[in-house]
Amino acid sequence: MRTLLFVASLALSLPALAADHVVSQSAKTFSVKTLQAHLGDTVSFRNDDPFVHNIFSLSDTQSFDLGTYAKGETRKVTLSKEGTVEVECAVHPEMKFVVEVKK
């Protein structure tokens, strides 16, 4: 019974172990060049620029489009697959960085 309770509480607490990685967009640049993350982690894209960004990825590992958002807004992505995720900005083509997602 105790073992069962222990395992149950461990399973329930696992999502709480997922990390949130904050990546800022400032001066048309991401605050990181590469990011090491784990399955289930979230990446919070925070726009610290005085103009909009549109963050997206077309990677086979995980594709997403966060849409256009303004200064002060943060948009999140939960990393759902292992592999390499190349992140770009549709408004500023020179902005790129890579997320390496592991178990």
Partner: protein, 138 residues
Amino acid sequence: MIRWRITAHVPTFVAAFALTVVFPCESRADGHTENGGRGAAVFSKYCVLCHGANGKGDGRAVSLQKVPPANLTISPRSLAYKVQIIRKGGGAMGRSAGMPAWNGVLSEEELAEVAAYVHSLRNRALSAKTDRSIVGSR
């Protein structure tokens, strides 16, 4: 005497030739240029992601869009409309919010040039279609 008259005009011919080499791109009022000029460069940098290299709405980010990017080669919109939608974005014009507002990203000059280039894509497509129909009728 005739030889002297011809040689007197040589500098003029040389200058005229030099100008055509230095400025090969003549921009017409309808935005059509021989090679697109700066408008094409802006388009290539910012627009091909969604609209594709030829403006047909088949860029690599198409799969992410809820509403397909416009096929600019068949767009019936005026040049003035295109300037506005590039400046304000699709949402502000009652179209897809997938089209960002480029005001603040592009200078007014770049905005005008890329709009003229985008407008010329339809003219080029129509010209190509006319040429094909002429060849086909021969």
